[in-house]
Subunit: 276 residues, 2 copies
Amino acid sequence: MTKADITAQIKCKRTFLCVGLDTVIEKIPVHLQKEKDAVFQFNKQIVDATAKYCVAYKPNTAFYESEGLEGWKNLEKTINYIKTNYPQHLVIADAKRGDIGNTSKRYAKAFFEKLNADAITVAPYMGFDSVEPFLGFDNKWVILLGLTSNSGSEDFQQLNLKTGHSLFETVVQKATTWAASDQLMFVTGATKPDMIRKIRAIAPDYFFLVPGVGAQGGDLDAVAKAGLNKEIGLLVNASRSILYASSGEDFATAAAEEALRLQKQMEMLLAKHQLI
Amino acid sequence: MTKADITAQIKCKRTFLCVGLDTVIEKIPVHLQKEKDAVFQFNKQIVDATAKYCVAYKPNTAFYESEGLEGWKNLEKTINYIKTNYPQHLVIADAKRGDIGNTSKRYAKAFFEKLNADAITVAPYMGFDSVEPFLGFDNKWVILLGLTSNSGSEDFQQLNLKTGHSLFETVVQKATTWAASDQLMFVTGATKPDMIRKIRAIAPDYFFLVPGVGAQGGDLDAVAKAGLNKEIGLLVNASRSILYASSGEDFATAAAEEALRLQKQMEMLLAKHQLI
């Protein structure tokens, strides 16, 4: 999927919502838990209910790996279901991988070829040769961690370097020399709009994947103000607030309502910033 | 496995070798490739051939994930085989995971409970709350990336902070306040002995996992000189040089010979440093 495709989808559907599929078996409604592939059955209904209101899905691999083989099967089935039924949605494997070159190459194979995801989140600590192998695929995306939404982002990301710039600014700046905005995006946590503004100044043309709206408390208006660019440039993720909007049999309807609520808010913001 | 257990094993077997199980299907001898679980069959023979000469095994998850479901099965079977037949060997899942708290908790479940690994490598970029969930398990280890062996370690890890210290020194120093040396180790690349010396000064009592000897060109003598402490404090990993010592039917014998060669070298170093 190209950058123009993503922007076109956002404008057409008037939403830059990404739905995070961080599905936890214990939180699935009881009536579904008996199914052998309960997590997939749940995801399928969530996807069908929310597809109209979002442009991307983001399964986080931790929630599948923690269920062992069964979990990996559910991840495969979920991605396959989305790619087959909703081919215009971007599928982001939120995997936060990164290793030496010959190893990152294997991760790229795992996520881009075996699982057929469109994008993968990558951790920057190991530098260029740990990121490069993910960049060799047509129409596939690397989403590099810039500034994350958690409190631990203060431990290293926000430290100042000798140059006067913070580590996260340096990561983003250096990475813009590794790949253009048609292959690379950045994770920029919703809980820190002031810093999103700084990252936007460094990377004006790049898309940002913004987690932390919803359960983590990020403010969508502030994120939009700080992060929107002329091609939209934002994918804002919500996971728990949508997946677990209801714990009853009406979970899919409740998820759709929450996704619709966010879509409406995003439509308003796109209009306000004269992007639609 | 406790720190005292690891030191005792090293002294008893006169080796601080860790064998990296980065098994690539295409590199497995042809006669094994027909087997359905070829990677596991290969690993099993490698483990049986090298167990005497090492104290730890380190499967890197990328090499299993890249083969999809079959790969994940081979990873499960490999760890299970080692834990059942060689319970005194440390099993390190080289996974380089790390995410926000509720997600890292799932990775901890995946690797410590589902896969039953003894240790997991963790990336530090997301800070304390991304590491903490891995620390809540008895006799399980977190091995945090300090300084990696690849060229990309120059991109961020070796940058100087405003404080005058480099990022990798700061990561190690801060992490020593998160957990003691009976729960936490550090990855310190073999290709940079001078920097291993710096890390040893910051973390005198911690074990270091040292990749990069062998195919990556690190010098074992220099690593030992820079990194050994009174409890040994080193696990040195070799992967490709052992796994692919021969591409023929004699691969297990050749792997044993290479592991024995490293064990002999380590025995000499332990004696030289008066540790045995």
